[in-house]
Each structure stands twice: as C-alpha cells, then as structure tokens.
Amino acid sequence: MASDKVTTFTDGNFDTNVLQATTPVLVDFWAEWCGPCRALGPTIDALAEANEGRVSVGKLNVDENPAITMKYMVRGIPTVILFKGGEIVEQIVGLADQAEFQKKLDKYL
C-alpha cells in the first residue's frame, strides 16, 4: 500500500507542485507495467515518511503524463529526479537503496 505521504504529480499540477514548490521535490517517474518501478515503490514510500515536511516526495506516471515525461527527456524508468527551485539538481536512473537517495537529498536540506 503506497504511503499517503506520496503525492501524485501530473502534467497539470507539475508547475505548481514541483517547479514552484518551496521545498526540494523528489519525483519518481514510473509506470504500472515496469517491474523495477514497482520494486522501487517501498523505497519511495519510506523516503516520503522519513523526510516529511522537508522534502515533497511524489510519483509521476509516464503513461498518463507524456508532456512532463517528454520535457525532461525521460526515456527509461525508474528515473528519480530531485528538483529544487524549479531546477534539476540530482537524478538517479534505475534502482538504488534508501540510503543512497537520502545521501543525495541531504545535500539540499
């Protein structure tokens, strides 16, 4: 069961919820049919719990949100991008463990 701390980002809310956010925002580009994406799910949930109030953590479904997927030229998933002040500051392609994500996050907190 996905954590309720994980936001759903879309083509429609991306500008408001990600680019104009005051905190860093971690965006997990994923799809239902992607096995590794599902494997990453619990890690994303745990990151949302662990960083509540400091980092906004959410998922963007690439099937349903082609505009943002194209804009950031995401052509492989899972891809996790960290935004700060509307800019890309970090990205991780493929699987990584929670500690590795946290290390990247900590640089921007």
Binding site: G35, P36, A39, V62, R75, G76, I77, T79, G94, A96
Partner: protein, 311 residues
C-alpha cells in the same frame, strides 16, 4: 547493530534464491532471504514467461516471482529487503552485514545472479535513462515510432530487437562479428522481420549526444574497413551479455576465467558450507527453470551439510 543467527541464509531472490528458500523452509531451517535492490531478479524485467513448466498459457515474470516469494514465505522463509555490504567467509559462522543487520549463519546460499553488461563508454553512462537502456521491456514504450539500435548478437540481443519492433519504426542490430551467436531459430525470426536490419562487423565508438541530454545517434566503426558512420537513432539498447554478481565475495571463492562461481558435487563452492545456485554460477543455461532447479540442489546440499555437522 542487531545480530541475528541463522542456519541458512540466502542472498538473492530470483528463482534460484526463492527455490532454495522454499526447500530450506520446508526442511524447517527457517531460512533468511536477503533480497537485493533488484528483488525478484531478471524475471522482473521480462513480460510473459512461456517456458516455465506448469503454466499452459505462460505467466508474467513479476507474477511468477510474486508466487515464488509467497510460496517460500508460506513455509516460514523470512524475506528481508536489504543490500548486503559485506560478507566474511573466513570462519563459520559466516558473517553477513546488510544495512543495520548483522547475520551470523552456519551455511550461506549465494543466488546473486548476473547483471547486464555495459560497453563502458562515458557517453553511455551519461545517457542512461535518456535513451540508453539495458531493458527493452522497461523502456521500449518510450520509442513508439522512433528508430533505435540494439547492440549485441546473442539470443537476448535478438529477442530484444524482435520485442522492440512492437514500438520502434526501425531496429538496427549492431554486431561486432559477421555472424550472430544467437540460435538459428532466433536469427531466422529476427532476419525475417522487415523492421530489423543489421550492421555487421561494427563496434560502437560513441553515443550521441550527452550535451543534448538525450540520444540522438550512434557512431559506429566498421572493424574490417575502419570506416566510421553515424546512425540517427532515438534509443540504444545494450544487450552484450551478463556479468555474475560476485563483487561481494572478493577473491574468497573460486571463480572461472570469466568470474562465475565454480561449483562442484552439486552446488558446493570452494568453501565448506557455502553453496551457489542460479546465474551466478551458470553462464551456460541461464533459464528460470535451471536456476530454480539449482536452488533446490543448494538447499538440499546445505541441509545435508548441517546434518553432517550435527545440527
């Protein structure tokens, strides 16, 4: 750091690891399975598995792995997420460290599998996730109506090429030699596909264009003539084989010339009490069913080893 003690610990959670766990659990050995980042193994990256016995109509790879996991758990296998950071095999009990867990185990079953090899170009690394991929089933979707290249000449390269014709406008297979290593049936299928063409005797010089942030092309050199050319492609799938995941064990276990763990008398490795199964010790068959079979062997071998030790 919490320490747990176990009779049997399994590293890896593909068909080999989960079958080893199932058999150990049914022998009442309460195995601990440490599933790595790539939990479920390579089958998590496949779609339909048509050759696993018992599934008349095939089964999706991730569904098969979920079923294997559930079956092992039903008999008492404990499965934990975690990335093993160190393994000490110098004395029994062996000591495994995974995150905040320290595990002392009488026997170890290694089922860490194999990972896709990369070419090693800086441009390949820079463009990973932005057009360079090792997983056709994950990323084929992004190349609907686009030209792509597949690098490799074995069964898995041609299988990926054929799969990718569902999405791509054209698929160019780039191969270093003048003939494929793939099976005859796979070659016939690939070469008969009107979307697939082949660049023979060619190696990849560069992937374009990291400054653009996405794949725009691939530079090839013909190994016979030395001539270079650039193909405009939007995606590059690298399928040049696999490398066994043995880094954790350093040189403490005997490996063959290509890095695979050497097993003898079933699943025994060069250290008593350490057993290996699945792709980490098999570069020949590499099937879900052979991995599962070898996982069963490792569990039975570990069980007999423990009995002989008076456990």
């Amino acid at each position: 750091m919490a320490t747990r003690t176990r009779d049997v610990t399994v590293i890896g959670s593909g068909p080999a690891g989960l079958t080893a766990a199932l058999y150990s659990a049914r022998a009442n050995l309460k195995p601990l399975v440490i599933e790595g980042l790539e939990a479920g193994g390579q089958l998590m990256l496949t779609t339909a598995v048509e050759n696993f016995p018992g599934f008349t109509d095939g089964i999706m790879g991730p569904d098969l792995m979920a079923a294997m996991r559930g079956q092992a758990e039903r008999f008492g296998a404990e499965i934990v997420r975690g990335n093993v950071t160190s393994v000490d095999l110098s004395a029994r009990p062996f000591v495994i460290v995974a995150g905040d867990d320290r595990i002392e185990t009488q026997t170890l079953i290694i089922a860490t599998g194999a990972s896709a090899k990369l070419l090693g170009l800086p441009s390949e690394r820079a463009l990973m996730g932005h057009g360079v991929s090792t997983c056709a089933t994950c990323d084929g979707f992004f190349f609907r109506g686009k030209p792509i290249a597949v690098v490799g000449g074995g069964d898995s390269a041609l299988e990926e090429a054929i799969f990718l014709t569902r999405f791509a406008s054209t698929v160019t297979v780039v191969h270093r030699r003048d003939a494929f290593r793939a099976s005859k049936i796979m070659q016939d299928k690939a070469l008969a596909n009107s979307k697939i063409s082949v660049e023979w005797d060619s190696e990849v010089v560069e992937m374009l264009d990291p400054t653009h942030g996405a794949v725009t092309g691939i530079v090839l050199r013909n190994l016979k003539t030395g001539a270079e050319k650039t193909l405009a492609v939007d995606g590059i799938f690298v399928a040049i084989g696999h490398t066994p995941n043995t880094t954790l064990f350093g040189d403490s276990l005997e490996t063959d010339g290509t890095g695979y763990l050497v097993t003898h008398d079933g699943s025994r490795t060069s250290i008593d009490g350490v057993f290996a199964c699945g792709d980490v010790q098999d570069h020949v068959y590499r099937q879900a069913i052979t991995a599962a079979g070898s996982g069963c062997m490792a569990a039975l071998d570990a069980e007999r080893f423990l009995e002989a030790q008076g456990h």
